[in-house]
């Protein structure tokens, strides 16, 4: 093969390679958003409440993404607790709710409240999902097996096996002080939670 032709082919291949590389570089920042599974509007609430404000919060022990297990009772007498159940990893509203709480730590600290995040996903899924949120300051727990058992105890297991988007505020005595079983399609405003935390004893 003549040298000139080899040279042209080399340049041609190089140009194409550069073009491909440019496409990859451009796509990097969009990778995460493409991993969020888009869902249509869902039935706002698809479960029957089992708990009431003023009642005792059922205890639970669940595995945490960071390793080990976390029990509700370990905070008894020391901290108020906010449990944030979100329906599923890699879905639109859920993928934003916890990153929001992640930058609101000073508010939780102000009211001596520990946030606990729970989904019905398994640990590997939760690991991959929460990793893209950066370093979470609160434990993310897996209610995968027995599937959704804690969500069921809290009366928020939906008929498709996901949980409701729900917030429970539990005081240091283990008493439920606030329940927000929210429209699954919408994010609860932080303001509502803060109003409830203001009512608690630090």
């Amino acid at each position: 093969m003549p040298k000139r032709r080899i040279c042209y082919r080399g340049l041609f291949t190089g140009a194409i390679a550069l073009l491909c590389l440019a496409s990859v570089t451009y796509g990097v920042s969009d990778t995460l958003k493409d991993n969020v599974y888009q869902v249509e509007q869902l039935k706002p609430i698809d479960s029957m409440p089992k708990l009431k404000v003023g009642g005792k919060a059922p205890d639970f022990t669940l595995p945490a993404v960071a390793g080990g297990k976390v029990s509700l009772s370990q905070y008894r007498g020391r901290k108020n607790v906010v449990i944030s159940f979100v329906p599923a990893a890699w879905t639109p509203v859920c993928s934003e709710q916890w990153p929001g709480y992640n930058i609101a730590k000073p508010i939780f600290d102000q009211y001596n409240a520990q946030l606990i995040g729970i989904t019905v996903d398994n640990i590997p899924t939760l690991y991959a999902w929460t990793n893209q949120m950066g370093q979470l300051w609160f434990p993310a727990l897996s209610d995968f097996w027995p599937h959704g058992a804690v969500a069921d105890k809290y009366g928020i297991l939906r008929s498709d096996g996901t949980s409701e988007r729900a917030l429970f505020v539990i005081d240091k005595k283990g008493i439920i002080r606030y329940i927000d079983i929210h429209d699954i399609n919408k994010r609860p405003p932080l303001d509502d939670l803060v109003k409830e935390l203001e009512k608690l004893t630090k």
Partner: protein, 190 residues
């Protein structure tokens, strides 16, 4: 042989053209009159008022901002990408203010879509954001600007007659604040 050369150079020119085009540049679909219709509440903070060159009470429009160019960041306090981008957006602000030719000519504001005033404040405090942020709690501005994904940047020129022209839009992070500022300055004609 000549045909091969022509094809080769055509491909090469195409590749180089694509590579030399800034990847961040996008065709704007947001019109200046849409931005002109946005009303925002006067900031409570006097420093923010001073920065924007506003006097008075009630609400104001973008054309009232004392600047030649306004950069709007559409963000959401809950959005992970907006959080990641926040330090770079602050760098962009610092880069503008360090440049004596640009300071005062380019002003920045942020609009938190679907965010309450408290949520915007959490974002501002957490990232020590030096420019004014405004809530768009009911998504009015978000809808008017085409429900863009966040973060989203809009470069607006305030014309001598008070009309507004959108000269640049950018979806997603800009990676390099210095480079992005250069692009904005070039595109705005400052």
């Amino acid at each position: 042989m000549l045909k091969t050369k022509v094809i080769f150079f055509a491909v090469l020119v195409f590749c180089l053209t694509v590579l030399s085009t800034p990847v961040a540049a996008e065709q704007s679909t947001i019109r200046g009159d849409v931005i002109a219709s946005i009303t925002l509440p006067f900031p409570q903070d006097q420093n923010a008022k001073n920065y924007l060159g506003l006097t008075g009470e009630g609400s104001f429009t973008i054309s009232q901002i004392k600047a030649q160019v306004v950069i709007i960041e559409i963000f959401n306090m809950y959005c992970n990408n907006c959080q990641r981008e926040a330090p770079r957006v602050n760098e962009l602000y610092q880069a503008v203010n360090k440049d004596q030719n640009l300071k005062g000519k380019i002003k920045m504001i942020g609009i938190g879509v679907g965010n309450t005033p408290l949520e915007v404040e959490v974002f501002k405090k957490n990232y020590t954001i030096p420019f004014p942020l405004f809530p768009d709690e009911d998504y009015t501005i978000h809808k008017a600007t085409g429900e863009v994904r966040t973060p989203y940047f809009i470069g607006i020129k305030i014309n001598a007659d008070g009309s507004l022209g959108v000269f640049h839009t950018k979806e997603g992070g800009f990676q390099n604040p210095t480079q992005f500022l250069k692009q904005l300055v070039a595109a705005s004609g400052l």
